[in-house]
């Protein structure tokens, strides 16, 4: 298969970027999208040019490192997959493929197709955990969790932190990401104790970092490689609002 690639090239954080056209040929349908980019990069290196920089690591769809906005969608076409699990057989031979970095103020471009997603880490640091320390915890079976809740928590917890939700949202909102963590922990007895505090701390951090607001377009859910549901956002809103109403005087640390 042969393709024309329109790839965003940007030398560094401050440089002005632009699209560059590349031709790749003899691509096998069983190659993943990233393997196709490997081929391109190998050619570029041999020609003495700077290879395209893109984040990737596990290449089995779980680490969340790969990103890329491919033909107008984060992780390209295909539901419930990451870019590394996108195979070239899904494209038409001869197709022109536009490859852009995720665009959001909170995700500045580092170089080419790689963006800085450390804002997600900062949101988690603001409270996305159960504040227990190592040791001194009860037996695993001392905390009973209804199976339905455990399953739902698992669904939320499967977030890989790739940022596709932010990339697809016209508001660059991180609500689905925040909601996945808040909801996972709010569903479990272990996490319920500080659920409202957590929701407020994380939402405050999200706003501070320059993510947009949620206007319920549900684009996040549509592109999430782990198919995380927006109903978790409703749970986040619930925790957040009850927190605001029930304990508005509490200072968050």
């Amino acid at each position: 298969m042969n393709f024309t690639l329109k790839i965003w090239r940007q030398a560094n954080r401050t440089a002005k970027g632009h699209f560059v056209d590349y031709q790749v040929s003899d691509i096998e349908p069983d190659m993943s999208f990233l393997e196709m980019l490997d081929v391109l990069n190998e050619h570029l290196v041999l020609k003495g040019e700077d290879p395209v920089f893109f984040d990737h690591d596990c290449r089995e769809g779980i680490c969340g490192a790969c990103s890329l906005f491919i033909n107008g969608r984060p992780h390209g076409k295909g539901e419930g997959t990451t870019t590394c699990q996108l195979y070239m057989r899904r494209f038409k031979d001869g197709e022109t493929i536009v490859v852009e970095p995720f665009r959001a103020k909170a995700f500045p471009v580092i170089k080419d197709l790689t963006v800085d997603r450390s804002a997600f880490d900062q949101i988690i640091q603001a409270g996305g955990y159960v504040s227990c320390h190592t040791g001194g915890v009860p037996d695993g079976n001392a905390i009973l969790v209804p199976k339905e809740d455990a399953d739902m928590a698992m669904d939320a917890a499967s977030c890989i932190g790739c940022g596709a939700c932010v990339a697809a949202c016209k508001n660059a909102s991180a609500m689905l990401f925040v909601a996945a963590k808040v909801s996972q922990l709010a569903l479990l007895p272990q996490g319920k104790v500080e659920a409202q505090r957590r929701a407020q701390a994380m939402v405050a951090k999200m706003d501070e970092l320059g993510f947009g607001n949620c206007t319920n377009t549900y684009a996040c859910q549509a592109v999430c490689p782990k198919r995380i549901s927006v109903s978790h956002i409703a749970r986040l809103n619930r925790q957040f609002l009850t927190g605001k109403i029930v304990r508005p005087w509490k200072k968050e640390d």
């Binding site: 984040d55 290449r59 969340g64 997603r117 988690i124 640091q125 159960v130 695993g140 698992m154």
Partner: protein
């Protein structure tokens, strides 16, 4: 035992060693802990849990990761589960049994005392993770659910769908994030450790490269914890992540840390077969699939031929013409034999000409029987995400046609040598998780890697590191201005300069691929003296060629090719050591199979009389043969016997 290898195993009966250790180790008061700095390299299960716990204790921790976020460490890709001796299923499990299974699974090449401690701690890990909000699978009563795994006759594996590693890592990442928020841990992302800095013989810091800016940085501390994972990518194709590498460990080796059992590499039996030269990595299909999937190849060569030509579909082969070779050869464990046994059996069938894909390098993993017995719904609930992944990659539906699988490099049991305290032969350098060699012997059982990583990080290092640091409280903050740091940084800069100035004609990946071919061909699943000798020669040639002909673009800041070149350069040296170790070990045990040493029916033949030891290598200088030290393994609590899964 050799002078240089003091394993420091505490005295007393095996079940009391760890308790005795904890009761007598030295502690540090909180005010002093604040004055002590610890560097943790790596944020996988071992690194993140260690950094978080050390931060909680009050140490000043600096943690480094190669990815853009600690949450992406490759522990995240572990699918199946984590073992613990809870005996929640009332099926006869106990700490003792988990200990014995692990020692036996490792083919009696692990240190008994370490393994017992691991089994003991396993239960605390589950409790800890539950408290953190890890959404383990539950039954309708709300209790924790279990599944069974290879190498065990009890159900002791806890799991969170097919994403257990991810969930455990996110738990540890949460704990780490909590400490970062509190300020006890400082996080450095997109950093790669390029050297260990020794001051007066102690590990006192690291040299790291900032992968975004290209800056070479110095970081100092009172102690260094290495949790940088395994070196499976020396084979180029493996189930490891693209950035997984052995450089940090290798550079510590070159600074005096001994490298133990490098030839103990694990080939995982259930991976998606290789399907092209362009392929960048192999994808694992969880071992848990062997709970319900049955492995087979056709009995008749004609059927194999017709399948390869696409004239026959596997589902059309009648039961009588199928060879369920694992069930045939190992009736007691069947499809649940340990990984090394399952992998070799697959290779045996494919070598005999029964491989079912075009390349003849695949066997079937069939769920038809499970779907009949349990219904497609139950099968979907158990393995849905794995089936989906398989279908996505291979474009075949495993509900309708059997999966094709083949063994692939997955885990490295070998690693830096550590004593009972997880301290290497360099004082102040501690090694945790897959990066050390300690607990899995010659073969790791499924669901034990997660257990070991978290045991090291949450429950062992916080004690043993404290014991080490207790006499360091008068040591002021380590300066990065010392001559040692200067020298280490210069060395790294020179090395980078040298690589950039080669300006050859071949890409790094091409060299890596060639190294991988050599390793897989001669140092892979079946090893033989002549092949190993050949591999050593081939690697030496390849190394020479690499340093004369590698092509790395000169770029400021981000330079991925340079990152890879540094890693591949180390992999070549490491590959050679693996081959040397495999050559030296004239026996078959666990993941190490020497063709010369097998029973009449093709089973691994161990030689306890001559090889009941840990092989630890000391670096002697560039192009010098490393010096081999042997730590003899004393088995006091388990009886040393030939493994039998029949």
């Amino acid at each position: 035992m050799e002078e240089k290898l003091q394993s420091k195993i505490p005295s007393g009966p095996i079940s009391e060693k760890w308790t005795n250790y904890k009761d007598t180790q030295r502690l540090i008061n909180p005010a002093n802990k604040r004055r002590l700095d610890v560097i943790v390299v790596g944020t996988g299960l071992a690194g993140a849990s260690a950094a978080a716990t050390l931060g909680e204790l009050g140490f000043n921790v600096k943690v480094f990761c190669i990815q853009d976020s600690p949450r992406r460490a490759h522990s995240i890709a572990a699918q199946g589960g984590i073992n613990a001796a809870k005996n929640y299923q009332n099926d006869g499990d106990s700490v003792r049994r988990l200990f014995e299974d692990t020692v036996k699974g490792g083919d009696y090449r692990a240190r008994e005392a370490n393994v017992y401690r691991l089994a003991e701690i396993s239960n605390n890990i589950i409790d800890q993770c539950v408290a953190q909000g890890v959404p383990f699978a539950r039954d309708y009563a709300g209790m924790l659910a279990n599944r069974s795994f290879g190498g065990a006759q009890v159900s002791r594996t806890f799991y969170a769908k097919g994403q257990t590693g991810q969930q455990l890592l996110l738990g540890a990442y949460g704990a780490l994030s909590k400490e970062i928020h509190k300020g006890t841990v400082k996080l450095f992302t997109r950093r790669e450790m390029l050297d260990l800095v020794l001051v007066e013989g102690r590990a006192r810091g690291i040299i790291a490269r900032n992968l975004e800016t290209g800056d070479i940085e110095r970081h100092a501390a009172h102690a260094v914890v290495l949790a940088t994972g395994g070196y499976g990518n020396v084979f180029f194709l493996s189930t490891n992540a693209m950035a997984s590498n052995g450089s940090a460990a290798w550079r510590c080796y070159k600074k005096g840390a001994f490298f133990a059992n490098p030839c103990f590499t694990q080939i995982h039996p259930t991976c998606i077969p290789v399907h092209g030269d362009f392929q960048s990595k192999l994808t694992l299909m969880s071992e848990s699939l062997r709970n319900d999937g049955r492995i087979w190849v056709p009995k008749r060569k004609e059927d194999v031929e017709r399948i390869r030509k696409g004239e026959l579909r596997p589902i059309d082969i009648p039961e009588a013409d199928r060879d369920y070779y694992l069930e045939r050869r190992y009736p007691a464990f069947g499809n649940l034999v340990p990984r090394d046994v399952a992998s070799r059996a697959a290779k045996e069938r494919c070598d005999a000409g029964f491989g079912v894909n075009g390349a003849g390098l695949a066997v079937y993993l069939d769920f038809a029987e499970a779907i009949n017995r349990l219904g497609a719904k139950v099968v979907e609930a158990r393995y849905g995400n794995l089936f989906e992944m398989y279908q996505n990659i291979v474009a075949e539906n495993p509900y309708e046609t059997p999966m094709m699988i083949y063994p692939a490099v997955h885990y490295t049991m070998g690693g830096l040598w550590v004593d009972y305290e997880l301290q290497s032969t360099v004082p102040g350098l501690f090694v945790a998780g897959e990066a050390n060699f300690s607990d899995h012997g010659a073969n790791r059982l499924g669901a034990s890697a997660l257990m070991q990583g978290l045991a090291d990080g949450y429950f062992i290092l916080p004690y043993t590191l404290q014991n080490y640091l207790s006499d360091q409280i008068r040591e002021p903050r380590i300066s990065i201005e010392s001559a040692e740091f200067e020298a280490a940084e210069c060395k790294v800069r020179d090395e980078i300069e040298a690589l950039l100035s080669v300006k050859g004609k071949e890409t790094v990946d091409s060299f890596h691929r060639r190294l991988g071919h050599v390793m897989w061909e001669y140092v892979g699943m079946a090893r033989e003296k002549s092949g190993l000798l050949k591999a050593i020669d081939l690697i030496a040639d390849l190394r020479k060629e690499f340093h004369q002909n590698v092509l790395i673009p000169n770029a400021f800041g981000v330079n991925v090719e340079l990152e890879k070149a540094l890693r591949v350069s180390d992999f070549m040296e490491l590959g050679e050591l693996i081959a040397r170790d495999a050559l030296q070990r004239e026996e078959s045990c666990g993941g190490h199979f020497r063709v010369e040493h097998q029973t009449a029916d093709g089973e691994a033949l161990r030689d306890d009389e001559h090889f009941n030891f840990v092989a630890a290598y000391e670096w002697q200088g560039e192009n010098e043969t490393p010096c081999l030290y042997k730590e003899t393994l004393d088995f006091e609590s388990v009886e040393l016997k030939q493994r039998n899964y029949k």
